[in-house]
Symmetry: C2
Subunit: 133 residues, 2 copies
Amino acid sequence: MSTRGEIMQSRVLSVLKREGTALSAYDVLDALRAEYPKIAPPTVYRALNALIDKGGVHRVESLNAFIACREDGHDHASIMSICDDCGSVEENPAPELMANLSGVLDKTGFDAHRHVIEVHGVCSTCGSEDASS
Amino acid sequence: MSTRGEIMQSRVLSVLKREGTALSAYDVLDALRAEYPKIAPPTVYRALNALIDKGGVHRVESLNAFIACREDGHDHASIMSICDDCGSVEENPAPELMANLSGVLDKTGFDAHRHVIEVHGVCSTCGSEDASS
DNA sequence: TCCACTTGCGTTACATTATAACAGAATCTA
DNA sequence: TAGATTCTGTTATAATGTAACGCAAGTGGA
């Protein structure tokens, strides 16, 4: 069990946590170039995928982007709400909704492994700013 | 209102309907090359985006792919169930789940515009084949 | 310690997905 | 028909993602 990969994973995770928003893999790459001038895409993607497997990072499919998980150690999938105005991404845990979803699919015989629930719209902050304009 | 664009849209839609599964934009491009030897990506993307706006085609975000809508004229967003084994994609209407989702997000002040609900797993056909092996 | 073996990382190169921007054709207005 | 407008095709390139090779670091046997 080498630790080299884990070092890179912690660097990638710290970049994502520092920014707080969803970043593309290439945003992460650029942020790491100061520290690792010769870093290349596969290094970043490997670290991101390892972090996703561990649950420390989520992939935002509809943005092709990645975001640090805010609630450590949650097993349940959650709803991602994505503000198309300011770019903020929030995780909204909703276990009863996930159960409902599983129920709907169970009836069709579908065996669900991974849930992608992403809602685009306008967050409360941007919404009230628009209203005041 | 020219009709040239609409011709291309109907060609793209017929390709998607003929295949039945989710196709990448470049799969569509290749399929159309027989008829339009010099066709280029923006032509396909423009037709796909127009069809998405009209509701005749859905984008599958987690596959970067596109699929013809089977249920003409449905307004409601639906759950996409995606078999990672055979690649089939099904639309499962679930209005009460969408209402539940809206409710969860309304509480946070989020104004939802577009819903991406995609579930990866194994469809009933592939599941029973696996069981029999 | 030394060598063979395994594992996994960094790098190069390339594949896939998507769009910016311009040029030209079709349509509209008068 | 001239001029304005809009939409389309094309070129070029940007953005995202991965295959595959070779090296380096750890592992186990002698």
